[in-house]
Amino acid sequence: MISVNQLLGVSLAYVAFLFAIAFFAERASIRGKGSWLRSPMVYTLSLSIYCTAWTFYGAVGYAARSGMEFVTIYLGPSLVMIGWWWVLRKLVRIGRAQRATSVADLISARYGKSNLLAIVVTVMAVIGVTPYIALQLQSVTLSLSIFSEPGQPDSLSQAAAAFWVAVGLVLFTVLFGTRNLNANERHDGVVIAIAVEAVVKLVALLAVGVFVVWGVAGGIGPMMERIDNSTIGEWSMDRSRWAALTVLSAAAFLALPRMFQVMVVENEDERHLQIASWAFPLYLMLMSLFVVPIAVIGLDILPAGSNPDLFVLTVPLAEGQGGLATLSFLGGFSSATSMVIVATLALSTMVSNHVVMPVWLSTQGTGAQVSGDVRNVVILARRASILMIIFFGYVYYRLSGGGAALAAIGLISFVGVAQFLPAMLGGIFWRGATRWGALAGLIVGFAVWVFCSLLPSFGPDAVLSAAVFEQGIGGVSWLRPQALFGIEGIDPTVHAMVWSLSLNLAVFVAVSLATFPTPLERLQGAQFVNIFDHSTQARGWDAALATSEDLMIMAQRILGPADALSLFRAEAKRQGLTGHLPEPTQGFLQTLERELSGSVGSATAHAMISQLVGGTSVSVEDLMAVADESAQILEYSNRLEAKSAELSRTARQLREANQKLTALSVQKDAFLGQISHELRTPMTSIRSFSEILRDTDTLDQAEKTKYASIIHGETIRLTRLLDDLLDLSVLENGQVSLNLENGNLNDVIAQAVLSAGGAHTTRLRIHHMQSDQDVPLSTDLDRLRQVFINLITNAQKYCVAATPELTVEILQQGGGLQVVFHDNGVPIPSEARALIFEKFSRINDKDGSGAGLGLAICREIMTRLGGDITYEPRADGNAFIVHLPGRVALAAQ
């Protein structure tokens, strides 16, 4: 028989071993060599904190009392893991995206970062988990008591044992859970210690199981026979409990704060979840495999009245296997300690982030002006919370007297934490869930749980009087804790679970439907529910108001100087800035908020940044976006739209520029080609005929004269072309200086008619309709005359009527004047009209004497003079209209 002292020695050595492992894991992690600490295997093993002392000891006791019912506690989580695709995948993604630090943080973040909600969830979690912690203390002290020899004066009273175990747990949790505050709230040392403990408890239970089946019963066949012949050898099942407990365990698996801690917060890689989806059910299966055999053998060989909760220890002891019993003790010890450590850690995070920190901050004034290092406050708050939570567990243990069956206590706890489920799942799958709905559902469910499950657990007359059990509160018969609404005969656990969860859900849905969420809630709701659609983060801050320095000071206080500096540096580098102060952009503020929320929770981080940044986090645009019910999608698509609009705008501009350049180049080519053509054509004639004249001796005089006059005519054409080109170039470049003179329009027209060769020299008859009075002008008269001459000579050249006539007429038009040159020739074809004022455009140029520049020059001149020249086809010919502006027509008014 092993003495208690020996056992204590082994336990202490084991604890020292765990300390060492945790310590080296932390060291390795700090040095960046900790990748193996985050393998899928470790992740799966860390999930095994689901299997607490309740599993290790309680499952066998449970089986001894109720047969196979114990297995429901493991079927639920197995189903949740195997169905990871449905819920866990989303939960883990959201938890990571939002940097949720706890269940309370997740729920508060979902419902608009509501701290009230976080506080309610925290309080409920503390109350709900306390019995569970008490259960662990109870199991450890019970197991110790087995080894204390009967009859000997107890060297260690049970209460004292529980006390020292509690102290040890506080120490371990404080040491490894609150050593540092890192942004993602992960604890490498703790996780690795839990993984080791997971292996120890599995090995211990399997060892006892193997010993029992092959060592005691003598193989599988005989074992099965003994099972069938035992008191639990028949399938005897409360059907409602089978289904309800499976559902309950699944719910608790999702909602337990410690499960959230290892499953979501400590998750390193979402892929680990996929491996855990089959590996963890395997672990649960192995843990459950030998439970019934151990129970049956225990019932067989131990004296009636032995505590079945301790069969795992007492069976090996009864068979004289001291070593196996010690291993088994360590397994139970591992189960208890790992659960308490993680649960306490998770709860202390919640308490410090959602209760202590907000209170402390509000007493300290605004976030930026707090003095000292906030980290110290946070760590202190955590440590105090750990102490407090384990103390609560100890108090519950003392109050409940340590007498109840382990399984019963565990179930009470399960029903308590399952109350989080509607708010949690509703929050991630239903955008319509609101803060008030969640709050009301939680409170109703919790109240029902307290009344139907927690208070009755202390027994009649402890908290609730026996009268209340019998007759209900104040004698109202439908308010009996185990028969609500007068429905009797339901198993108490199923009763509490069904009523609390269904009322919780009903109130949650009803209030959600009736209330309206705040904009921030709706934004967060969209983010949670549509987590897989896009991973844009919640928008938030009006960055202009925050200064980087204030943010830096605050971040240093919470993250620590080194971490804060590296965070700010990295951001500055990303923004392309030197130094360590980045621009406080919206994106950076969101990153910072997430980092901070890793240390102090999302609600607190939000509050702290909002104190610095001023203003609310929801802008007018947000409100408008929310009004459309699809804020995120809208914003996202808006941004895409803006981007693509910008891109297509740029592309269009480029295309236009390119077109313009191409057009310009084509124009230039065409112009050069034209000029070349206009110059080379007369030159060809000149060269050709001069060569003929030079090289041909047989030419007669008439031929010589003809060819010489062709040469002469072509040189004149060349000269005129050059003059026109120069004229046009001067006009186009705006280098022309106008020579303003006063004169009379009638005189100018008469001079032009004269210069063009007079009314008699050509066939063209010109009618100059003289106006009765003088039309005084102040303009460049020479240039105006040039325009008129050009129009008259054009008419002379191109008017093909039998008796060509040109009428020149002056019209008063508004403030200005029009001079109309109206001939009786063939109207210009409509397709050519657009081009007549362009350079080198020639219509019906029979003799090729014109270069096609005349009208282009006319238009340039008129533009310079502030007027215009237009063409109008008339029924009987063409009309060119010269428009003179009012200021040119001096005294017309």
Partner: protein
């Protein structure tokens, strides 16, 4: 020699000069100054040589050239193209379209008549 040449040109003085030069060497010269109907004229006349201006009213020389070359009957007809535009790209275009000889105005009489003789010799 009695050979036929079709002179497609719209500039009256150049027609005069080319007519003088070609008839002096014994060519029967026909002239045509409209681009749009030039191809029909070639089909009707089936000349031994075509002197083609580049810039013509109605249709430009390159298009006339391509149209003629598309007709197997005129695939090997000697065509001398004259242009006053003087741009490198025009020569490339004309060569691609299958011109026999390409000359830029102003040309020397000797040059153009040598080209005409070369083309006729090649065609024989």
């Amino acid at each position: 020699m009695g050979k036929h040449v079709l002179l497609v040109e719209d500039e009256i003085n150049i027609i005069e000069a080319m007519q003088f030069l070609l008839s002096r060497e014994g060519w029967d010269v026909d002239t045509h100054s409209d681009g749009a109907t030039a191809v029909d004229k070639v089909r009707a006349m089936k000349p031994d040589l075509v002197v083609l201006d580049y810039m013509l009213p109605g249709k430009n020389g390159i298009d006339i050239l391509s149209e003629l070359r598309a007709d197997p009957e005129f695939a090997r007809l000697p065509i001398l193209m004259l242009t006053a535009r003087g741009q490198g790209r025009d020569r490339e275009q004309a060569e691609k379209a299958g011109v026999s000889r390409f000359m830029t105005k102003p040309f020397s009489n000797t040059e153009v008549m040598t080209a005409v003789r070369d083309l006729v010799q090649l065609a024989q």
